[in-house]
């Protein structure tokens, strides 16, 4: 079976890629799409990097895999204890592990939630890791020293810069735009160099590399990229920034071209993004609104010495919510989750919502949220407020926010103590959208077709089938068969296999693939997925 190459483009959208392909900034991608297939790839209910890439990697939705956000937070006394989700929090087996234990060698570069890295057959370098901790995010461990010796490679420039990430929320000063874009141009080059090095020296059955600068640049530079917002008469500075953005995408196009050029001629190539992108035109300050409605009480800092004041301000600057827990019934923990948590009373007379009042309280909250209007436009601010059962069904649902908000501009909420509650942005910013991208080419893949949109959970069966492996019976989406020529599918029929293994079994082993099952449960599942009559 052919080798498989997956190129992840974090946050990529056809809204941007199509104009760049047409204008000649991304000529390779234009030709690749013309010779293969494309589709919109639909993200997770809250279209966000950690849950969405984890869904791509597991074939399961967040309610099953358990990753809902960047940050995992728990209430502790009068404070919120914050930590980051990591690979140990994923409650489902990943395609890296499934492929590895099925006898395939894999390379996985820069995918989030992969630290600590799984001990698979092949190489893993986790994404979203600060350079200070890359050493512990590499498998096998000696690969780290090997990479440090690569000419021109700066491991310090490969890492995730958490201070820069904060600027996505806070905005970037005009003088910082160039530095921001150049930083990501350099970062992508390093990840490309590593991918190229490993393809040469340690070829894998499945090579996957993710470029995340697309998302970062679109967040800050949306108005320079989306033709709908591009300035009609750009200033010299605006032209410079637009040119730099195009330089980023031009170089990305060349990396994609070279990686595909290096792959075996019979390799199949897939490209995917975790979510799409669009313009955010307003700010909704959810905690300020909850305060106005009487559901949330900010903690009074009281009298503080200079040191305590600095600590308080540092935490506010880092987007901590500092609340009076006794008098708070509902609140949002993070911007990125777009989620509201309802505090449940642990017993009679204790603060929070008693169990029997939970449903009516949540219903009432939804009704009020859906009535909020932007005074500048007269339009509703929130287009949907999904319960955790609706958004994230599954074994991990109880860890999801009680409500997940879908803002009318698909933006992220602000959790800060600032008014007004709703404010139109002076300049548009980039924000996530559910519609990401899918492109594919190679043996068996149709040529020149546009496919119907399909869910990102469909990527996992697609990649495993491309590798010639069985599709686990508990994957939540079927193989997007429309991507392939019927004759190829007849020659390579779908084989449904056993369920995935527990991620707690030590890295799910590396033994041979289990025999094809004739288990009646598996056969029923095949029917349910439409693979057999």
């Amino acid at each position: 079976m052919s080798r498989t190459l997956l190129i992840g483009l974090d946050g990529a959208t056809f809204t941007i890629l199509d104009p760049l392909m047409r204008s000649g900034v991304m000529p390779f991608l234009r030709d690749f799409v013309a010779g293969g297939v494309r589709a919109e790839l639909l993200s997770t209910p809250n279209p966000l990097t950690p849950p969405a890439w984890t869904t791509l990697m597991t074939g399961r939705n967040p309610g099953s895999h358990g990753i809902f956000d960047f940050i995992r937070a728990e209430e502790r006394g009068e404070e919120m204890y914050f930590t980051l989700y990591n690979s140990r929090d994923i409650r489902c087996e990943t395609i890296w592990s499934i492929a590895s234990r099925s006898g395939k060698r894999i390379t996985s570069l820069n995918f989030p939630m992969m630290s600590p890295p799984p001990e698979v057959s092949g190489c893993v370098i986790a994404g979203m890791v600060s350079w200070k901790h890359l050493k512990r995010a590499v498998h096998p461990p000696d690969l780290y020293e090997e990479l440090k010796r690569l000419p021109g490679l700066s491991y310090k420039e490969m890492g995730w810069d958490f201070e820069l990430e904060k600027k996505i929320l806070q905005g970037v000063d005009q003088k910082e735009y160039e530095e921001w874009i150049r930083f990501h141009i350099k970062r992508e080059r390093h990840w490309f160099e590593i991918a190229r090095h490993l393809m040469r020296t340690k070829p894998a059955d499945l090579t996957a590399v993710m470029f995340d600068g697309v998302d970062k640049i679109q967040h800050i530079c949306w108005r320079f990229l989306d033709p709908a917002w591009t300035p009609a008469a750009p200033s010299a500075w605006e032209r410079t920034i637009t040119d730099l953005c195009h330089q980023y995408f031009r170089e990305l196009d060349s990396y994609v071209a070279e990686l595909i050029g290096m792959a075996d001629p019979d390799s199949r190539v897939f490209m995917a993004s975790d979510h799409g992108f669009g313009a955010s035109t307003q700010i909704f300050r959810v905690n300020a609104w909850l305060h106005e409605q009487g559901y949330l009480t900010w903690r009074d800092p009281g009298l503080m010495d200079e040191e305590a004041k600095k600590s308080w301000e540092r935490r506010l600057d880092s987007n901590f919510v500092i609340l009076d827990w006794e008098n708070t019934k509902a609140y949002a923990r993070t911007t990125s989750s777009n989620g509201i948590y309802i505090r449940r009373s642990p017993g009679p007379g204790r603060p929070g919502i008693p169990a029997h009042e939970y449903e009516p309280f949540r219903r009432g909250l939804i009704e009020k949220l859906l009535q909020i209007v932007n005074p500048d436009t007269g339009r509703r601010v929130i287009s949907g407020a999904l319960t955790r059962e609706e958004a994230f069904p599954g074994t991990q649902s109880s860890h999801a926010p009680d409500l997940t908000l879908v803002l009318s501009d698909n933006g992220f909420v602000s959790i800060k103590n600032i008014t007004p509650v709703v404010q139109s942005r002076q300049e548009v910013a980039g924000t996530h959208r559910p519609e990401g991208i899918f492109m594919a080419g190679g043996p068996g893949v149709k040529k020149g077709d546009r496919l119907p949109a399909f869910a990102i959970a469909g990527m996992a069966p697609l990649l495993l089938h491309s590798l010639g492996l069985e599709i686990p019976a508990d994957f939540e989406e079927r193989l997007p068969q429309a991507a392939f020529e019927p004759s190829w599918l007849r020659a390579h029929p779908v084989r449904l296999g056993e369920k995935t293994r527990s991620p707690e079994s030590p890295h799910s082993g590396r033994g041979p693939a289990p025999e094809e099952s004739e288990d009646p449960v598996v056969l029923e599942r095949l029917k349910a997925l439409g693979y057999i009559e």
């Binding site: 728990e74 502790r76 006394g77 009068e78 404070e79 204890y81 930590t83 980051l84 990591n86 140990r88 630290s115 600590p116 600060s130 200070k132 901790h133 050493k135 512990r136 491991y155 958490f162 040191e307 600590s311 935490r315 880092s318």
Partner: protein, 106 residues
């Protein structure tokens, strides 16, 4: 005070030595100005220039080393419901001695 014997599957080295080993490995690439050698009095923020993300990674490294994810880390990082300003290496080791040992007794 207990020792590293209480951590499932680990050897019997004193916990302080284990914590120092984790920190030496973690910080070996950091180009720190601090050059005194890591010891129980070394401050994570003051000497090793820890940022909040480094504390998150230290917790992961400790949990991986001692193969435990049920440690009440917030008791180390927070006091009276508030985050402590700085920690010494000895504080971390003391916390582990108390809680790894307690788990074994319990």
């Amino acid at each position: 005070m207990g020792n590293a014997q209480s951590a499932a599957g680990t050897d019997r080295k004193p916990i302080l030595k284990e914590v120092i080993g984790i920190l030496e490995d973690m910080t070996s690439d950091w180009d720190l100005e601090f050059s005194g050698g890591i010891g129980p009095d070394t401050r994570l923020i003051g000497d090793l220039a820890f940022e909040s993300i480094d504390m998150v990674q230290l917790v992961v490294a400790i949990e991986e080393r001692f193969k435990r994810r049920d440690l009440p880390i917030e008791k180390l990082l927070m006091e009276d419901g508030r985050y402590v300003d700085d920690l010494r290496v000895g504080d971390v080791a003391g916390f582990l001695e108390e809680h790894l040992g307690a788990a074994e007794c319990g």
